[in-house]
Symmetry: C2
Subunit: 230 residues, 2 copies
């Protein structure tokens, strides 16, 4: 009987390929089967981050996930992708799944993990998060001593965002995208707008850093984080 393979969920970090861990690099360099998510049929960000380290001869599994408000189409895509990964694992092949940032920090890896962790060995390799990358790029310490740090998805409603911002020293408002106007209004009302900086695609080649008060547009790219020092 074949010993099943192991599924490795590997964080590739926020964007700069050198911010992959040595462990991620080692696993990737020897991988025979590599998997990743591609949102809405576009290129996979995780794959493009890891590109300098991808072996030429690895088989690749691209899981095309439709990102919509309804969850069913995405769930069906995770079912399909997990089944394809399971086929390789059952044959005794390890599979390295590439994940932007850290696999368990708002990552889609968990949807594959929860489908397969009951049946196969799974190892999670943590990665550098976009939040840590933002602080480094801003050259601004994120938190110290007794500070409370909150990670707040921009999808939260305005009242909730306001309440959470009132009781922390630092907030990272993530996945800003089309929620920017709401976030900006909340920050203005709290007199925090001059304490807030938006970072899009931290450490990626097209990184952008802007003070929130200087941004006129109604929305920002999805992969934008606003760091607020309260």
């Amino acid at each position: 009987m074949t010993t099943p393979g192991t599924l490795y969920g590997v964080g590739v970090g926020p964007g700069d390929p050198e911010l992959m861990t040595v462990k991620a690099w080692r696993l990737l360099a020897t991988a025979k089967v590599i998997a990743y998510l591609a949102a809405n049929g576009s290129d996979s960000t995780a794959r493009s981050i890891a590109a300098p380290f991808l072996p030429d001869d690895a088989q690749e599994i691209s899981i095309d996930v439709p990102m919509r408000t309804e969850r069913e189409p995405a769930q069906a895509a995770y079912d399909l992708g997990a089944a394809e990964i399971a086929t390789h694992l059952a044959r005794g092949h390890d599979v390295v799944m590439l994940c932007e940032g850290d696999p368990f920090f708002y990552g889609s890896f968990m949807y594959v993990f929860e489908r397969l962790a009951g049946s196969f060995d799974c190892v999670v390799v943590p990665g550098v998060t976009s939040v840590a990358a933002c602080a480094a790029e801003l050259r601004q310490p994120l938190c110290r001593r007794d500070d409370v740090l909150k990670v707040l998805p921009a999808t939260l409603d305005a009242d909730r965002l306001r309440d959470e911002l009132l009781t922390c020293q630092t907030a990272a408002i993530i996945k800003v995208g089309r929620h920017f106007q709401k976030v900006k209004q909340v920050l203005s009302a709290l007199d925090l707008i001059t304490h807030a900086t938006a970072i899009t695609k931290a450490t990626q080649q097209d990184q952008a850093i802007q003070p929130v008060e200087a941004i006129a547009s109604d929305s920002l790219p999805y992969f934008t984080t606003i760091i607020v020092k309260v």
Copy 2:
């Protein structure tokens, strides 16, 4: 005139040397001067994490920081350490300062950074945090979709801890140490004790994972994080 060197604040990750980034490894491998903090005269954790990658011929600056409730002795130690680093930078030598986890995530690097960033070029290389490492070791996704994640120092008073825990999906209570009993009482009162796991020295060789409800002792090591799924 000599061009001054650059100070690199380099996260070495939570403990497993392979969780250093490729960038940290590259900077370290070619470093001529390496600095790190050593608390209370003991060995430096950051140095021991990076030990497999340390070049033989690098000069080492150990900054001995007395960790007490009063801050003056530590401040004096940071003054001295920063001055020694500045001497090397002024001579045109780069200095790589090793930091456990991520330099700007509750790290002491910021005290050296704020003393030198006005005078010298500083580059911060983000690292894998202990919080990401805990989630990976627990094989438990940290947060998803609209979840709010809070990082709460265990030094906060019981009322504050309770209030913050009431309004999040995941909390990482860090630096538990002698505050364990207070934290345990708060978790019990909120009926969250069965949702809480303590991880000491995540990914280090003497890592320990324990359900909080099973811990009888009054205190835990300082480098303990309690992950609470609310």
